[in-house]
């Protein structure tokens, strides 16, 4: 459900940037999405198709770059990926003092316009 407001914000940002470049239409948008954001591609595409009608972004393709969850042990200072079954425990010291350092990204990297 949060995709609706995320797509509204994405569209506003994309249209602003296209306007600044005096573009006639947006061809594609490269979106970076961290796994922790809970943003679902299918839902974004659905809302985007609907909300972009009659705008410069109509028909634009969204390309997704997913960023996996990345954790850091506050004691050992080592980085490790979020395991498939989420366990917030350092693989080295087995401690639970773990910080999320990657996977919360949600930004437009770049876009192609005409």
């Amino acid at each position: 459900m949060h995709e609706q407001s995320i797509v509204e914000a994405l569209l506003t940002l994309a249209l602003e940037n296209a306007g600044k470049a005096n573009a006639r239409r947006i061809v594609s948008i490269n979106l970076v999405v961290g796994d922790y954001t809970g943003v679902v591609e299918d839902a974004v595409n659905l809302y985007f198709g609907f909300l972009s009608k009659n705008t410069l972004a109509a028909g634009a393709k969204i390309n997704y770059t997913h960023v996996p969850g990345q954790l850091r042990c506050r004691d050992c200072d080592i980085l490790f990926p979020l395991p498939p079954r989420p366990v917030y425990r350092c693989p080295k010291c087995k401690g639970g003092r773990v910080e999320i350092v990657g996977g919360r990204e949600l930004y437009i990297d770049d876009m192609e316009v005409e």
Binding site: H2, S5, T37, P86, Y88, V98, L106, E112, E114
Partner: protein, 221 residues
């Protein structure tokens, strides 16, 4: 016309965050502290806020911003207790955002208000991603939901200034390991304060009230 690549590198929720900063600046100008209370549906947000308002309303001017997908059942509970409550219906939306909160703030006479509670939409997934302009984020997790929720919804707990474990009066009937729980939270978020409480019996509430009052005393800092 040839294609042109535009470098954007801008956060999707950047506009929301900017509005949130403006909200905070407005509140600071009036010396108002705003607390964003988040949890899943049924964790006890309304009961805990009602208990809290009841305790503090003699000393502070308090208002509640009530976020729900639809209806005004909870806002009605506040107004029945003579607490100023403004309902936001998100019409299906699963979270509040900074512009929605601003619309409400603009209708309030902030002068006599010291403290605003936002009761966010019941949802542990995305509410914490939307900065509303609050000074403190509070997450409530109820005992029946289980102590594995920080593992399933870590972002909520990483952002929280305080985590309230609610309904501790039913701990004997569930497998919630209350003793180990603060360690789990502080592993993810070392600065979060954890308060096990029961709105029903009143157990543990004094610590939460004291934390809130400290926060109010720090107003404007």
């Amino acid at each position: 016309m040839s294609a042109l690549k535009i470098n954007v590198k801008e956060n999707i929720l950047g506009a929301n965050s900017k509005q949130a900063e403006l909200n905070r600046a407005l509140l600071d100008r009036f010396g108002v502290r705003m607390i964003n209370v988040m949890s899943s549906s049924g964790a006890g947000k309304t009961s805990l806020i009602l208990r809290t308002v009841d305790r503090l309303k003699g000393q502070y001017g308090i208002a509640v911003i009530e976020g729900d997908v639809a209806c005004s059942i909870d806002a009605g509970k506040y107004t029945a207790q003579n607490v100023t409550a403004i309902q936001i219906n998100t019409a299906g939306g699963c979270h509040l955002d900074a512009p929605m909160v601003r619309k409400v703030l603009d209708t309030l006479d902030l002068g006599p208000i010291d403290l605003i509670f936002i009761e966010n939409v019941g949802n542990l997934v995305c509410t914490a991603d939307f900065d509303l302009g609050a000074h403190k984020d509070v997450v409530i997790l109820s005992v029946p939901e289980g102590d594995d929720k920080p593992r399933k919804y870590p972002v909520m707990f990483c952002e929280a200034d305080a985590v309230l474990v609610s309904k501790i009066d039913v701990v004997p009937y569930f497998d919630f390991k209350l003793d180990a729980f603060p360690g789990i939270i502080n592993g993810l978020n070392p600065s979060a304060r954890v308060f096990p409480v029961s709105a029903k019996t009143g157990e543990g509430l004094d610590g939460w009230f004291a934390w809130l009052e400290e926060s109010l005393a720090a107003k404007g800092t």
